[in-house]
């Protein structure tokens, strides 16, 4: 552990003393605080309450390289990674954690796209100072601090007041592990102005056969009357690990809709924070994980009701095959002031094999009395009675399982609104089904 901290200190000192760094004192200060925190906390172990079932320490035993901000040639690979509908979409490309403007295509003029360094030095300085690192109020661990400590080459997005971005924003997080095992740490800060609207879609792709570890943080600040749809689609290689943190701060009455789809990876940990800091906010959190092999998928969600009269609905569903393991931890906080909160949560799991497992834990901390909250979780197998019903109609066992898993996933998938992305995920699920249901 100390080795890691010492090793990373060298990288950190180099970053802080680099000529580009000194000029951006805002970022340098944020980084310094975060590195101090990282040095104290280190990489979270199983002793950390929030990391009991997800062990990422061993990932750091491998020689993970801090990649330099050099542009590897990935044009051809990018073509294969592009999501359907890209011809119309805005595309943001991160390579090894660095935002790459030459590969990115911004089609909507209303979408302000800056590097974090530019944003921190210019007119958005105060905003960056105020909100960059806001997620650390909730995620008190070394892995979140590590990303912030190495904030460089990130991106700042701003959707201006009253603007609705017509085309979705596709964000590709690409890790080039062709020559070495890579630690990539993409960072972004997004400001959705008053009465603005945007659809965000993120994917993760590792190129090459070496291990990759992506430690990503995105923080999104939503103003009054704004609307955000956020889709996270994870179908990376089996040797690719990921900690993906997405932090939404709803500072005015606003509407958030998120769908998290996890289909493959080595160790995948998603932190989804939704902070309802204004009255009458609404948030919908949907998730589907369908994994096999020895993969591990962990969804940690937080819905924090700070102000009264907010509504949140959360439904996560999981299908685990082979030796795959899953974790669901859903926290709902209702602060003393947050009367008339409506908060619902449900997690349902189907285990397709005896060796698959899931740990599911709702965690409600309610400090107001006039609230409606519910939670529930289930773990089971595919319903034998239903399988028999389908088979009794001439449907083979394989197809019957196929239909039942699709049916189970249906009420998550229906919430993916952009048509090309919906079709794309349906296709990925079909491929997964072909793969898992022999």
């Amino acid at each position: 552990m100390n080795n890691i901290i010492e090793n990373y200190k060298e990288h950190f000192d180099r970053l802080q003393s680099s000529p580009t760094s000194n000029a951006m004192s805002v970022l340098a200060a944020v980084r310094q605080n975060a590195f101090n925190a990282f040095s104290k906390m280190g990489i979270p172990t199983a002793r950390h309450e929030e990391w009991k079932y997800t062990r990422i320490g061993s990932l750091f035993n491998a020689e993970l390289q801090f990649p330099a901000n050099l542009l590897p040639s990935i044009e051809a690979e990018l073509e294969a990674i592009r999501l359907p509908g890209y011809e119309q979409a805005n595309e943001l490309v991160f390579v090894n954690g660095y935002f790459n403007s030459s590969l990115s295509r911004i089609r909507s003029a209303e979408l302000i796209t800056l590097t974090m360094e530019e944003a921190a030095a210019g007119e958005y300085k105060d905003f960056v100072l105020r909100y960059l690192g806001d997620s650390s109020r909730y995620l008190k661990d070394g892995i979140n601090a590590l990303n912030t400590a190495f904030t460089q080459g990130g991106v700042f997005l701003h959707v201006k007041k009253g603007q609705a971005i017509e085309h979705p924003v596709y964000i590709y997080n690409i890790t080039d592990a062709r020559t070495a095992a890579i630690l990539a740490q993409p960072r972004s800060l997004v400001h959705i102005g008053e009465n603005a609207q945007v659809q965000l879609v993120e994917t993760y792709s590792t190129i090459g056969i070496a291990d990759s570890f992506t430690n990503q943080v995105m923080e999104v600040v939503m103003e009054k009357d704004s609307l955000v749809e956020y889709y996270k689609i994870q179908n990376d290689a089996s040797h690719a690990s990921l900690v993906s943190t997405t932090h939404f701060l709803q500072t005015g009455k606003s509407y958030l809709h998120t769908v998290t789809i996890s289909l493959n990876g080595a160790i995948v940990r998603n932190n989804l924070n939704v902070i309802l800091e204004a009255e009458h906010c609404e948030a919908h959190l949907y998730g589907l994980y369908f994994q096999g092999g020895k993969s591990h998928i962990d969804n940690h969600t937080i819905v924090d009701n700070v102000k009264p009269n907010c509504f949140s609905n959360e439904l996560y569903k999981g299908i685990l095959n082979n030796e795959a393991s899953g974790v669901f931890n859903g926290k709902i906080f209702v602060r003393p002031q947050a009367q008339k909160t409506n908060a619902y949560q449900s997690n349902k799991n189907v285990l397709l094999s005896d060796a698959a497992s899931v740990n599911t834990k709702p965690q409600l901390e309610i400090f107001a009395d006039d609230v409606k909250c519910s939670h529930g979780c289930t773990v089971g197998q595919l319903d034998e009675e239903a399988l028999f019903y389908l088979r009794s109609r001439g449907i083979s066992e394989k197809i019957a399982r196929f239909l039942m898993i699709r049916a189970f996933a249906a009420d998550i998938l229906e919430h993916i609104k952009p048509a090309p992305i919906h079709a794309y995920v349906e296709q990925l699920i079909s491929e997964r089904l072909e793969f898992h249901i022999l």
Partner: protein, 255 residues
């Protein structure tokens, strides 16, 4: 068509069927009646291939094949259909999509090409008219939130779509009012022909006013204790099952 010889079956070591003998020929309608718990659903389930039940003896031949050797889906493809006493709800699976899959799986089994969208729609429309069933029901998830009557009608609609050789109706009348019973029975009668047979499992005689059986069998304690024509059903209705029970229990004591 179906020949059951000395069929014995049970679950978790418990004997439920104690030697059933039954012979059904193409074109015939048979009714099995009996008090609750006598083993009617067990018989239907064993014939359809439910794996929870263990067959401990006897044989079943269906259209020249050893039925007990076949998987549930093979039995269906060979022409056996069970209308469930308790149809299963599957949220997220559209009824139409389910039926289309079933129709095409059975076609595949017989080496036929799948029906295309147009062909399937035509078949659906024809059977919907026949069964007096509404499109809106079929576009909903399978049986989810269906009333008891809608579920049973959906069972009979599936039967019409799959065109089985032998249809077993397990208490298709239970929980239905008289109008619903008439609709269901009508559907069954419309697709009944010389080529196929129907086995009606019921607790009450009233369904048999509409689906008139050629033979009536009384099941009691896992055995067919009495067989006759449709008059037997009327006698049961009049005297209740106790008269059979007394008769049997007396003979068993004597024997």
């Amino acid at each position: 068509m179906l020949t059951i010889k000395n069929l014995q079956a049970g679950i978790e070591g418990k004997r439920i069927l104690n030697g059933i003998n039954l012979d059904i020929k193409a074109g015939e309608v048979h009714a099995i009646m009996g008090p609750n718990g006598s083993g009617k659903s067990t018989l239907a389930s064993v014939l359809a291939g439910r794996q929870d039940y263990e067959v401990t003896g006897g044989s079943v031949e269906f259209l020249g094949k050893d039925l007990l050797e076949l998987s549930p889906e093979e039995r269906a493809c060979e022409g056996l259909f069970l209308a469930f006493q308790y149809p299963v709800e599957i949220p997220g699976l559209s009824t139409t999509n389910f039926i289309k899959t079933a129709v095409n799986e059975i076609r595949k089994y017989h080496g036929e090409k799948p029906l295309d969208a147009v062909g399937f729609l035509r078949l659906m429309k024809e059977k919907m008219a026949l069964m007096n069933i509404d499109q809106s029901l079929l576009s909903r998830p399978l049986n989810e939130g269906f009333s008891g009557g809608e579920k049973k009608r959906n069972e009979i609609f599936q039967m019409a779509m799959l065109q089985p050789r032998l249809a077993i109706l397990d208490e298709t009348d239970s929980g239905l009012d008289i109008d619903a019973i008439r609709i269901v029975a009508n559907g069954v009668n419309k697709i009944h022909s010389k080529e196929n047979a129907v086995l009606v499992v019921t607790h009450y005689q009233r369904l048999l006013d509409y689906i008139v059986p050629d033979f009536v069998h009384v099941l009691y304690n896992g055995r067919i204790v009495k067989s006759g024509t449709k008059e037997l059903a009327l006698e049961l209705e009049e005297k209740g099952y106790d008269f059979i029970k007394n008769e049997i229990d007396v003979t068993e004591q004597v024997g």
